[in-house]
């Protein structure tokens, strides 16, 4: 954790007045409008908003894969201009490398940085075990189920030990049952290996189940409508009274933005 000269905590990720416009033949489209947000260390922040509202766009800008039209992103107080290993991403489309085994995928980042073999073997072993894929180290990706693939994606991002982890609707392609299971898993992994996480979803249950804080985004052009701090004790229960109350309130807020 870092502090600035006045002793104030520096957020791990901070976005200031982020705007994004796409121009195409059919004219200009403003997707993000004046988005301010900050994420502190080991916080689990969920970006929650309707489909096509610009969540992926915002994520790409925060991770450095895309540049904002105006505004600035800071990571640990430094301006973000390009992607870097300290900002890991779990992509919506999984994006695993089919030509590598589970271990090859998980250790990819460490190998790319020239980490010695002993170390990447040990770390990848640990994270493969953590996501529950022990015994599948040498399997190729095409042999895995959807849920297992997403575990590889998570282990790959974790293994590189980033300062912050971006996850873009990682479970949207899974069936309902696998999705519940993966939500439990990600909560468990996050409790075991504390990490700053920015998690995108358009599923309200998922948001309330996982988040320390939910940032509610509006429809396009998207801005921050409201923030909710979720103080429910973990592990959370989808059927508890408080859970359901929160879920209904946020759903109502969201409906009013549509």
């Amino acid at each position: 954790m870092q502090m600035d000269s006045k002793g104030k905590l520096i957020p791990v990720i901070e976005g200031r007045k982020i705007c994004k416009r796409f121009s195409s033949k059919r004219g200009e489209k403003t997707v993000l409008e004046d988005i301010d947000l900050s994420v502190s260390e080991n916080e689990f922040v969920v970006l929650f908003g309707p489909g096509q509202c610009g969540k992926t766009t915002l994520m790409n800008i925060l991770s450095g894969l895309d540049v904002p039209t105006s505004g600035t992103v800071y990571c640990d107080g430094e301006i973000v201009q390009r992607p870097a290993p300290e900002r890991g991403v779990v992509f919506q489309a999984m994006a695993l490398f089919p030509w590598l085994t589970v271990r090859g995928n998980v250790a990819y980042g460490l190998k790319a940085r020239g980490v010695p073999r002993d170390e990447w073997m040990e770390r990848s072993d640990y994270f493969i075990k953590l996501v529950g894929l022990e015994g599948f180290e040498d399997a190729y990706i095409n042999r895995l189920s959807g849920g297992m693939k997403q575990r590889v994606g998570i282990a790959r991002a974790y293994c590189n030990d980033p300062k912050v982890l971006f996850m873009d609707e990682p479970f949207s392609a899974l069936d309902a049952q696998t999705r519940y299971m993966m939500q439990d898993e990600i909560a468990r992994i996050w409790e075991t290996e504390k990490k700053t996480v920015v998690f995108v979803t358009n599923n309200i249950e998922e948001a309330v189940f996982l988040a320390d804080r939910i940032i509610l985004l509006t429809n396009c052009p998207s801005h921050v409508k409201k923030e909710y701090r979720i103080d429910l004790p973990r592990p959370r229960d989808y059927t508890s009274r408080d859970f359901l109350l929160l879920r209904d309130e946020i759903t109502k807020q969201m409906d009013s933005t549509l």
Partner: protein, 258 residues
């Protein structure tokens, strides 16, 4: 599944047996064609076995001719791979290399390999060099084309993953683009093998002192149809063996895809 395999194997054997039987009917049994024009399967088999040590009528045994053809074909073929594959990769990877090489490549691409034969004979004579050069010209085109298309198949999201792990551009080439392209590169190498084999026989038919094409050409002059067919069989068998070896290598190299 197993049943289907048995049926297809049965059909394959049946088709060959039927073909030989009809050939046998037309020659030995019904004598529809004179034996000098089309010898019977029995006669061809006999000549085939004899030709292993018989140097008549063309001054070389079947083995000598086959090895001569293989040596030249593989020389030209390997050079085509060594030059064609990296060239295709770099054309796809670097826009300036593409712009520099492409006009020349587009001009030469439509010229069939065998059209190079007369020029090569004039330049290099009728030895190994001219034929290897012809094989090279035929085989290099599919190597370049398929490597090029393969690299272009790289998925943007895979590139993003590599970038978020801090991969350099060279690392992206080695760890993403080339693995993506590998199945296509192998296809190119396979297509190039047939082109090479066609080219070597054609080159030997037109001007040579050794090789299967030369053997066929000599036998035609003295009406030894049986040896012509022996030569054709040898060409076919070599083609099959080479492509089996290639499939084996392909299996070793290309992993995790379907």
């Amino acid at each position: 599944m197993d049943k289907r395999k048995i049926i297809s194997a049965g059909l394959a054997i049946l088709s060959i047996v039927l073909f030989i039987f009809i050939w046998y009917l037309c020659t030995d049994v019904l004598e529809l064609v004179p034996a000098r024009t089309l010898p019977s399967p029995e006669k061809v088999l006999d000549s085939f076995i004899k030709k292993f040590h018989d140097k008549n009528p063309d001054g070389g045994t079947l083995i000598e001719h086959t090895l001569a053809s293989l040596q030249v074909a593989l020389t030209g073929y390997l050079w085509a791979i060594i030059i064609g594959v990296p060239l295709g990769i770099f054309m796809a990877w670097n826009r300036n290399v593409d712009k520099f090489v492409r006009p020349l490549f587009d001009l030469l691409k439509p010229i069939p390999g065998v059209a190079w034969i007369p020029l090569m004979i004039v330049i290099f004579g009728i030895g190994i060099k001219s034929k290897a050069a012809v094989v090279f010209c035929s085989a290099v085109v599919p190597c370049i084309l398929n490597s090029y298309t393969g690299i272009k198949q790289s998925k943007e999201v895979h590139m993003w993953v590599a970038r978020t792990f801090g991969a350099t551009r060279l690392q992206m080439l080695w760890t993403v683009a080339i693995p993506t392209a590998l199945p296509h590169i192998m296809t190119g190498i396979r297509v190039a093998l047939s082109s090479a084999w066609v080219a070597i026989v054609a080159a030997e038919l037109l001007g040579s002192t050794k090789g299967l094409g030369f053997m066929i050409q000599q036998s035609r002059g003295i009406y030894r149809t049986d040896i012509i067919i022996v030569g054709m069989l040898a060409i076919g068998i070599c083609g099959i063996i080479l492509s089996i070896i290639l499939s084996f290598i392909e299996h070793l190299v290309v992993k995790g895809r379907k």
